[in-house]
C-alpha cells in the first residue's frame, strides 16, 4: 500500500489535472470506493482554493486550478465563499495574547463579580425555576419517492409522543433547475391537505407534530423554477403512528 504522502501527492496532482488518464482512473476508483479517500480529496480541493487565493500556487498549479475549478458555477461560488472567509479576517475572532498582570486582574475581577452574581443567581433561580422554556423535540426521517398507495412496501414512521416537530428529508430522483425552490404539501389518505409550505431552499420540511394524527399521508413535492415554472417531483407516501 502506498504511504500517505504518496497518496496526497497523487490526489493533489489529480485535482490539478496533472495525471495521465490511467492514473486518473485509479484515483477515481479509489474515491468512488472509499469515503475516506473522497473526503481527503474534498479537503485537498478546499485547501487548494485558499492557497490559490493567497497566491501560494506555482504558476503551473495556478493555471491547472483555474481551468479545473473555476470553469463551473460551483467552483466559482466556492471561490467566492473562500474569498469572503479570508477577507472577513478570521483574525478578528482570535483570542489576543494578554500580559500576565492583565490576566490576573481579570481573574480577580471575575472572582468578585462571581460572588455578587452567585447571590443574585440563587434568588433568581428560585423565581425562574418553573418559567424555563423547554427546547422543541425534533425527530427526523428520510423519505424516498416512488412508493404509491397500495404497494406492499410502505414507509412507516413512528413518532414519539413527546415530539414537537417532525423533520422530513426527501430524496430527489432528479435534478431541479438552478435557483429553484421547493413547495411541499401534506395530504391525508382521503386527499385533504393538512399542511403546506413553499419557498423551501431544500427538499426538507419541518411539520408541527401536533397536527399529525396516526394515518397514511402523501407528501407531495414540487419545484418552482426562477421563471415560475412548477414541476411535480413526486409523492412520498408514509404511514404515521405514535408511540
Amino acid at each position: 500500500m502506498q504511504d500517505k504522502w504518496q497518496d496526497e501527492s497523487r490526489f493533489h496532482r489529480y485535482l490539478l489535472g496533472q495525471l495521465s488518464e490511467d492514473e486518473q482512473i485509479l484515483v477515481e476508483q479509489e474515491y468512488f470506493a472509499s469515503d475516506q479517500s473522497f473526503e481527503q480529496l474534498l479537503a485537498l480541493e478546499d485547501e487548494l482554493t485558499y492557497r490559490w487565493l493567497s497566491g501560494d500556487l506555482a504558476p503551473a498549479e495556478r493555471i491547472g486550478f483555474e481551468r479545473r475549478f473555476l470553469s463551473t458555477e460551483t467552483g466559482k461560488r466556492h471561490a467566492e465563499f473562500a474569498r469572503a472567509l479570508e477577507s472577513m479576517g478570521a483574525k478578528r475572532y482570535r483570542p489576543r495574547w494578554r500580559p500576565v498582570w492583565a490576566a490576573l486582574a481579570a481573574a480577580a475581577m471575575l472572582l468578585f463579580v462571581s460572588a455578587m452574581l452567585f447571590r443574585q443567581n440563587r434568588e433568581l433561580r428560585t423565581q425562574l425555576a418553573h418559567v424555563v422554556t423547554p427546547q422543541p423535540i425534533t425527530v427526523a426521517f428520510l423519505l424516498t419517492p416512488g412508493l404509491t398507495r397500495g404497494t406492499e412496501e410502505l414507509r412507516r414512521i413512528e413518532v414519539p409522543a413527546q415530539a414537537d416537530v417532525l423533520r422530513l428529508e426527501m430524496t430527489l430522483r432528479r435534478s431541479v433547475p438552478p435557483g429553484a425552490t421547493f413547495r411541499a404539501a401534506l395530504h391525508t389518505a382521503d386527499g385533504r391537505e393538512v399542511w403546506s409550505q413553499g419557498g423551501l431552499s431544500k427538499p426538507i420540511v419541518e411539520v408541527p407534530a401536533r397536527i399529525l394524527l396516526p394515518d397514511e399521508y402523501d407528501l407531495l413535492l414540487q419545484s418552482v423554477a426562477p421563471t415560475g415554472t412548477v414541476d411535480d417531483l413526486g409523492g412520498y407516501h408514509f404511514a404515521l403512528s405514535r408511540r
Binding site: K4, E8, Y14, L15, G17, I25, E28, Q29, F32, A33, F38, E39, Q40, L42, A43, L44, E45, D46, E47, Y50, R51, W52, L53, S54, D56, I63, E66, R67, R68, F69, L70, S71, T72, T74, G75, H78, E80, R83, A84, L85, S87, M88, A90, K91, R94, P95, L142, T144, G146, L147, T148, R155, T171, R173, R174, S175, T181, G199, S201, G234
Partner: protein
Amino acid sequence: MRERRNWDLSADAFDRLLAFLDADRERAAEAYEQIRRRLLKFFEWRGSANPEELADRVIDRVARRLMQERELKADNRYVYFHGVALNVLREHWREPGRQAEPIEKAEPVANPHDETARWERLERERLLTVLEECVRKLAPASRDLVVEYHGAGVQIEARKSLAHTLGIPLNALRIRVYRIRAALEVCADRAMKQISETGIPG
C-alpha cells in the same frame, strides 16, 4: 443524441436502482446520495461545465440496465457507477461542439485579484454579513480551530506546526478544517438564498 433525462425514470426503475444499492431502503437512499455526490465531483474534476446533467445520465443508464438485465455483476457498486461515468464522459467529449471542453484546452479564467471578475459589491457585503453570523454560530472549539488554521498562514510548514501542536497528523487537521468550512459554506448559502427570496436575513 441527447439521452432521456433522469426525471423520466419510472418509479419501478428507481426502486430497482435503490434495491441494487442496498436491501435496506433507507441505507440505499443514503448510498444513492453518496454516489450522486461522487458523480458530481467526478464530472466537475474532469472539467465538465454541467456535472449535474452528466451525473443524471449515469444514474439513468444504470437504472435502465437494471430494468433490462435484472441483475448487474459488480464487485463494488460505487466503482460500477464510475465505469459508467467514464463512458458518459467520453461520449460527452465526442458530442458536436464539446471537443473544446476538456480542461487541457479550456481558457484560464480571470485572475482572482482582478476587481472586474469579482461579485458585485452588494453581494459581497451580504455574504460577509451572513458569514460573520455563521462563524459566530460555530461551536467555540471549531471557531478556534478555523481561526488558528487561517492565522497559521497557508505555508505547509505552518500547517504542520499547528498539526503538531494539536497532536494530530496534517491530513487529519486538513479534513477537520474542511468539515468546518463546508458547514460554514452551507450556512452561508442557506442565508444568502433566504435573503434573495425574502429580503430578510435568516
